[in-house]
Amino acid sequence: MKMKTFLGYKNENGTYGTRSYVGIIAATSAANSVVRDLSKLMSDTVPIYNPGGRAQYSLDIKTNERLITNIAMNPNFDSVIVVGYDQERTKKIYDMISENYAKEMIYIQGRNTIQTIADALYILEDLVKHATSRYRTNAPLDQLTLAVKCGSSDTTSGLISNPVVGLVADKIVEYGGAVVFGETIEIIGAEEELYKKCANEEICAKISKIISTIDQKASEIGIKNYLTSPDNIAGGLTTIEEKSLGAIKKIGSSKIIDVIGPGAKVTKRGGVTFMHSPSAAPEFMACIAASASNICLFTTGGGNPAGNPVLPVIKVTGNPKTAQIMKANIDVDISHFLESMNIQEAADLVFEELLNVVSGKKTSAEILSQDYLAFPRWGIWPMVGGEDIWT
């Protein structure tokens, strides 16, 4: 517990990775097939598919660009190659990735698919050799950006696994690291408790504006129920207030020091950042890959299997049935603490597993290749929270 370092990959730009991958980044959806083929041919690569990137306008294209380029700048990528269809779009995405990241680009137009794959493989071979020749070194814990998430929540989520993850989040903050949470719908009904954690009035005002806009839009559109998952209800959760009160326990007792939009980078350390984001796991996963998170603690009551191709996701459950039935998907079973409710002891277990995982141990989601990302749908509440968190 006194260990203040982990074994990480030091990047030349000063950030630390918990993995060392080569990202194959699709500039537009037209390049997805080539990205898929390349990733199947080369080990240690991570394909990042793009659902759009062409013929999109305004908020759609802005958020698409932010997500895809911020994912490319995740500290777990030793380097990336941007693969696009046309030169202009490919170069735009390439240029948006900061100069202090190792990057290459290639486009299909004027080259054809077969030639693009062949040319890209030669580039990738060098990149993968570099990414896999690095050694892990002692890295300070303040270089961890921990994303906390709950999925397929049930009663045990709010009762034990979220409070336990909250204690681990406190520890990361104590060491100077960053913690990020989101899932906007899952703070609704828990505002009173959440606002106690805001570092200042401005933070509270920003979150409150997001919630009131969603409430208003939901009412206009006719959305009548925020607690939409049948598995939540089957797991004993009755209302969104109950679910949210349990959900916010995963951020621990530290202050919320920043509010950011979906796909934006976490820039403040030593506290908690709230990211306005969807709660569906693959969409939230895309957002945290973009946020520069290098580890995720994911509590689950029912056994949600989602992972992340860019960063390790540790599954924690407090449900004894899930721990048994979904054993293959669970990394830390804390259900045996339900009787004693010794959450400190359970948190020690989770923290120890976190140190192992950020130092190289693979999680269930990694072993099972649970690597699907989905880009968030803005749809019904575009620009919620105002221009400042979207741009």
Partner: protein, 92 residues
């Protein structure tokens, strides 16, 4: 007699079953003994007192919804007798 019902906050009027509870089973919460009225699965809520219709359900010290009917002590507290103050109706 069992103590398998967890109370998160002393203000609460519900507890959380930590095992499947059966009708007629007596649970003890603090000094109060409550007779279970119906099957209550693991993880579900049990009323600690009589909760009149229109009264707030308090869990973890906060209102999590309102009773839509009179709920006697020892009953299952869930979507059939509670409505959210933030959602208008049930649906998927």
């Amino acid at each position: 007699m069992s103590v398998y019902c967890y109370v998160l906050n002393k203000k609460d009027n519900v507890c959380i079953a930590l095992k499947d509870l059966k009708p007629e089973e007596i649970i003890q919460v603090g000094t109060v003994k409550i007779k279970i009225l119906e099957e209550i699965p693991f993880g579900f809520k049990v009323s600690l007192t009589n909760i009149p219709m229109g009264t707030a359900i308090i869990k973890d010290g906060y209102p999590i919804g309102t009773a839509t009917k009179d709920i006697p002590a020892g009953a299952l507290v869930h979507i059939h007798n509670v409505k959210s103050s933030r959602s208008k109706e049930w649906g998927v």
